[in-house]
Subunit: 337 residues, 2 copies
DNA sequence: AATCGAAATGTAAGCGCTTGCATATCACCA
DNA sequence: TGGTGATATGCAAGCGCTTACATTTCGATT
């Protein structure tokens, strides 16, 4: 492999017999260069396989056309989907997206924010609103526009997301309306995760409103097995809960599996609900009753908002993406007796 | 928000009363600066909230410590998982990962390669081996090390992946051993996707070996509904196939759903197999018989190999990650008669 | 043919950083 | 006290690019 050193603007200029300025213009403002010259230049670009150096360009033009997104993990389909549409919109606007993951760790998030700034991100997408003030200050001091997504947020900052609390509240009311009085919950880990904690809060608020007293909530990591295990634990209670509400669909499907293993019929013996409406939820049997959360729309809305923020156009402080309850088979009346 | 202009090395140097060189050394080779000075500098860095500019740094040092990965889509959990562990290993080695998606389009992949080069990637992770020669040449000319992952590849280039063809072949033999003679397949879209086409080839080779003649193969996009639809189409044949082998688990689970809707028992009336062993496969009922593909291990192995390649250390040209057949409930003997 | 203005191109400064080399500092020894 | 080598710091060039400004070119007009 006799590798060729990466050609520079200068190489192209020399090859085409013009100045670097002209080459630069060919690339960035072709209409300012006469056709014959442009063709000669482009030919040289092609021949040398020239690719402009991003660093040099960013340095000279003081623009990066780069947007960053810091998500907890790429493994969660929920984020993957939203980020995908986020990036599609950005890419149409000529921006490239840099994705980093924080592993649900605020410290790590802070680091990644540094990386993004360092790479000159024009704007940033973060998930949710629960984070140390320091992380946000860091951004504010630089005046870099940023956005919390997947949830609505506190009194300041911009958000595009769902009202997780209200959605959980509504779903719980629906469960109660079906006649359930003994409700338990498997929630996501709520530490520094406002999506998880809001969902728990919503369920609690509704059960309290109905005078059901304090319900039992087990927090579990994001995984089928974790849902199964938590479900098993909840089912040891005497008398057993008649409905188990889950903080997300993965936990719910795990719970369903465990119910089957325990010989419990769903919804005959126990009702189960989820949250997110991921693909599997329509596929399992019976179908999972859950909350539909339109991730694609959210990703798009977030991209549009961030683009406006970067352009210093006026925007609403929050955009709420509506959710909807999807009734399938896992929610039924409590068993008689 | 009275935003402060981003501080530069110069600002820090002035604030600390030293030269830019010293500040630079504090950041990159602290041991070469005396403690008292270093403390003063670090204080200034902290006070100003200085973050080094990546572009400037890359330009001056001719190093980026950046690795790129171009995957078909982030939405596919299969890639998400592998990439996640890929990046964990890289990050321990002090490299940052840039992820881009090609949307299964070679043209788009080519573009993204350009973006990666332009950002100074030290190495690149690509998926599979099926791509226009032009895409590869582009990389070769620059001497940028790259790797095909998720599959093994042709006579040249480096690969870390699975032998998709052999795995499909083995699974098919197992199906045939159970007594199936009428086998059909739902494959992924094979165009420019060697994982999909190798799996189809493997199944075909095994059925041919067993003298079962040409089997029917429907190619379907990656989605539950697509699997369901294809399954429906296959089931119109007379006589019906007794086993439907699927190119991935998503298609297989979609097929299972459709079978249920059609009133067919699995595996009583029809056996179904998948490929990948994603999370759901253990959760559906009956459990899906499939091929386990250890994505995390692959991601790690790929990262290690790429790091060596970048360091110009010797490496094996291919690393095969072993797969394993996972027998669960969806494969049984064909129905009697 | 001379003049003029617009269009095309060139010149060169500098973006923020690293680094080879020159210089300053200092502890130590003769 | 002067000299020495090691250590710490500064100076300044230059990485690849964009862009304000200067210069050249050229067609149109008089």
């Amino acid at each position: 492999m006799n590798e060729i050193a990466r050609p520079t603007l200068d190489d192209v200029a020399r090859a085409a017999g013009v100045s670097t300025a002209t080459v630069s213009r060919c690339l960035n403002a072709p209409e300012r260069v006469i056709t014959t010259t442009r063709e000669r230049v482009m030919q040289a670009v092609e021949a040398l396989g020239y690719t402009p150096d991003f660093g040099g360009r960013a340095l000279a033009s003081r623009r990066t056309n780069t947007v960053g997104a810091i998500i907890p993990t790429m493994e969660n389909a929920i984020f993957a989907r939203g980020v995908q549409s986020f990036q599609e919109v950005l890419s149409k606007a000529g921006k490239t997206l840099l994705v980093a993951s924080s592993g649900y760790d605020p410290e790590h998030e802070r680091e990644q924010i540094g990386v993004m700034i360092s790479r000159g991100a024009d704007g940033l997408l973060l998930i949710g609103s629960a984070r140390p003030q320091a992380n946000v200050d860091y951004l504010r001091r630089r005046g870099i526009p940023y956005l919390g997504a997947w949830n609505l947020g506190g009194p300041e900052g911009h958000f595009v997301g769902f009202n997780n609390r209200a959605a959980a509240f509504d779903l719980t009311r629906r469960v109660i309306a079906r006649g359930h009085r003994r409700i338990a919950m498997i929630g996501g880990i709520s530490y520094m995760n406002d999506r998880a904690s809001d969902r728990i809060d919503g369920v609690r608020a509704a059960t309290r409103e109905a005078g059901l007293g304090e319900i039992r909530v087990i927090e579990a990591p994001y995984g089928f097995d974790d849902g199964a295990e938590a479900f098993g634990a909840l089912m040891t209670a005497e008398p057993r809960p008649t409905a188990v509400m889950c903080g997300n669909d993965v936990l719910a499907v795990g719970a369903m599996r465990k119910a089957r293993e325990m010989g419990l019929r769903v919804p005959g013996d126990v009702s189960i609900t989820g949250f997110d409406d991921i693909d599997i939820s329509a596929v399992v049997d019976p179908g999972l009753t859950t909350v539909r959360v339109p991730h694609r729309r959210m990703g798009e809305a977030a991209a549009e908002m961030l683009l406006k923020l970067i352009d210093k156009q006026p925007v609403d402080r929050q955009i709420e993406i509506p959710t909807a309850i999807v009734e399938r088979g896992t929610l039924g009346p409590p068993p008689a007796g």
